[in-house]
């Protein structure tokens, strides 16, 4: 069963001058076909302006396609009658944690979503506790969100989405504004959700190290999907990735450099241990 399915997806918007007159149209998404199976972990890479955030916003109907169709768990996002079902199915986490937190106490903030869905009070508390536990923030339930670090805030934002029990969670550069520790905390929380709750995860990021555990990686450029494969397949195509303004993990880069200098090392090395093993075999 596909969680996300898009066919010939197109999104165009008007460009306007200062007086609001239309001066042209931009095509942010240009004929994208994508299939994301239920329960999988998918990463989307692409440079600034490649269309990846626009694509993400189609996954919970913040934007609806101007051409083609997007289905979320079998529901057409263009159908106004399905809007709330779509939003409940796919939860979204954005880049800036400060723009997503509204409660004055952590547990209140996390309870806001389910409360709006009309979940009974007792059930809300259960969900709040459960989701805070799953992101490792339960001990901060009574804290004020503005006293938290970026990584902690972002985990609260994720808990807020989880409390609505979505089948799918879309994270649009959730770590872009965090320090290395915060990044690790958030990625670990996401990993855990995927394993324990079998939630479909779609991660949009600029950090290559965060995608090595993904089942599939999509690379976008100019509104198109230009590369698609497992992390190993994608990261063994170093030059192609670079042509799309992307990079590869530093360990992969080092392996490439050693290959270039004549060492017999397999392509597409992603992890430290793999490189160390490969080098030990050469001794």
């Amino acid at each position: 069963m596909e969680m996300i399915h898009a066919e010939k997806l197109i999104y165009e918007y008007d460009r306007r001058d200062e007086d609001g007159n239309i001066v042209g149209t931009n095509r942010a998404i240009d004929g994208v076909d994508i299939d994301i199976p239920q329960g999988s972990f998918v990463a989307v890479l692409g440079h600034n302006g490649s269309g990846k955030s626009t694509l993400a916003k189609h996954m919970n109907a913040i934007l609806v396609p101007t051409g083609g169709t997007m289905w979320v768990d079998g529901r057409d996002t263009k159908d106004p009658a399905e809007l709330w079902n779509v939003r409940q199915t796919a939860g979204m986490v954005f880049q800036n944690p400060d723009n997503q937190i509204i409660g004055t106490v952590v547990e209140e903030d996390v309870g806001f979503g389910p409360e709006n869905l009309g979940v009974p009070t007792e059930e809300i508390w259960k969900r709040v506790e459960d989701s805070l536990r799953s992101v490792g923030m339960i001990e901060y339930r009574k804290a004020s969100p503005n006293k938290l670090s970026g990584g902690q805030k972002q985990r609260v934002a994720i808990a807020g989405v989880i409390a609505m029990e979505p089948k799918c969670i879309v994270l649009d550069e959730p770590t872009a504004m965090l320090d290395p520790n915060g990044r690790k905390e958030v990625i670990r929380a996401v990993e855990k959700l995927r394993k324990e709750k079998k939630v479909t995860v779609i991660l949009i990021t600029h950090y290559m190290e965060e995608v090595i555990d993904a089942d599939q990686v999509f690379v976008m450029d100019g509104g198109h999907i230009v590369m698609h494969g497992t992390p190993r397949e994608i990261f063994s195509r170093v030059e192609e990735l670079k042509s799309y303004r992307m990079d590869v993990p530093q360990v992969t880069m080092l392996a490439e450099e050693l290959r270039r200098r004549g060492l017999e090392i397999p392509g597409g090395i992603l992890r430290r241990e793999e490189l160390v093993e490969a080098l030990c075999r050469l001794r």
Binding site: S149, N181, G182, L263
Partner: protein, 281 residues
């Protein structure tokens, strides 16, 4: 020709329940022309530290000497200091506001009292320094890509011809190519002008690749200070305070543990590759 901090202390909201010591007895000297990286997790005091450098924030105690003169002395010309020490904040493109790129970059020098002609000359020079294409000078800064906007914002500070350029996470939110482009440009700038560059960054890989000296901040204190290979030798301690060494440094440590005869101090891909090749030959 340097910046010297002597026993700088800074306390937020003193006397309230939120009192927090953001800097504790920080002393350091940054000589003119150095390329320095400052690392530390969120809340470690690195942003507070750089805001002291041009007098935006005043220390509770201690002295800050710019070119030998204490900036806290009465009558010190702070305006002049701010033209000497240019600070580029995080997401500086949020501060763009003019109708076109050139006017935006002219804003700084205009405030220094220069004539329109001089301002434009400086703006053009600054835009050239950051590698901004001339054909977009008359474009609205809001229609540019993220990386280009950031160049314009940095040029806005450079147009004041500072002797010291402080950049607070200049690559945050940019794609990998954009990150490299900005940092390569900063490196070139440093080489060509001999300007002191102070780079605050969350990326250990970037810091290792570009700077000659790293200052590690933790809980408001200077924890480590040295060349990248010296600092990243302390990778265990760095991890304890929420930081890390570059990935390649870990690879080198692993290899040494597995019996390779090599020095594990490499911090860049080039250094690591050289050392591995040497140990295998």
């Amino acid at each position: 020709m340097s910046i010297a901090l002597e026993h700088i202390n800074y306390v937020y909201s003193p006397g309230t329940a939120y009192e927090k010591q953001a800097l504790k007895d920080v002393s350091l000297v940054i000589p003119q022309g150095q390329f320095v990286g400052i690392i530390g997790h969120t809340g470690s005091g690195k942003s507070t530290l750089i805001q002291h450098l041009n007098g935006l924030v005043r220390a509770a105690s201690g002295r800050l000497l710019y070119e030998g003169k204490n900036i806290y002395e009465e009558g010190y010309d702070m305006r002049w200091l701010r033209s000497q020490v240019g600070l580029v904040f995080q997401y500086p493109e949020h501060q763009l506001f003019e109708v076109d790129v050139l006017s935006d970059v002219c804003f700084g020098p205009k405030n220094q009292g220069l004539t329109q002609e001089e301002c434009e000359e400086r703006a053009k020079e600054a835009l050239a320094l950051v590698g901004f294409p001339e054909k977009y000078y008359r474009q609205s800064p809001f229609e540019l890509s993220g990386g280009q906007k950031r160049r314009v914002a940095i040029a806005g500070v450079l147009a004041m011809r500072p002797k010291v350029l402080v950049l607070d996470e200049p690559t945050a939110g940019l794609d990998p190519k954009g990150r490299d482009e900005i940092l390569d440009q900063v490196e070139r700038l440093h080489k060509e002008t001999g300007m002191t560059v102070i780079l605050v960054s969350h990326s250990m890989e970037d810091v290792a690749r570009y700077v000659e000296r790293i200052i590690v901040m933790n809980r408001g204190e200077k924890m480590l200070d040295g060349a990248p290979r010296e600092v990243f030798r302390h990778c265990k301690e760095l991890e304890k305070v929420g930081l890390a060494a570059p990935q390649v440094t870990y690879v080198m440590h692993d290899l040494k543990e597995r019996g390779f005869d090599l020095s594990p101090d490499a911090t860049t891909i080039e250094e690591a590759a050289d050392e591995i090749m040497r140990s295998l030959s």
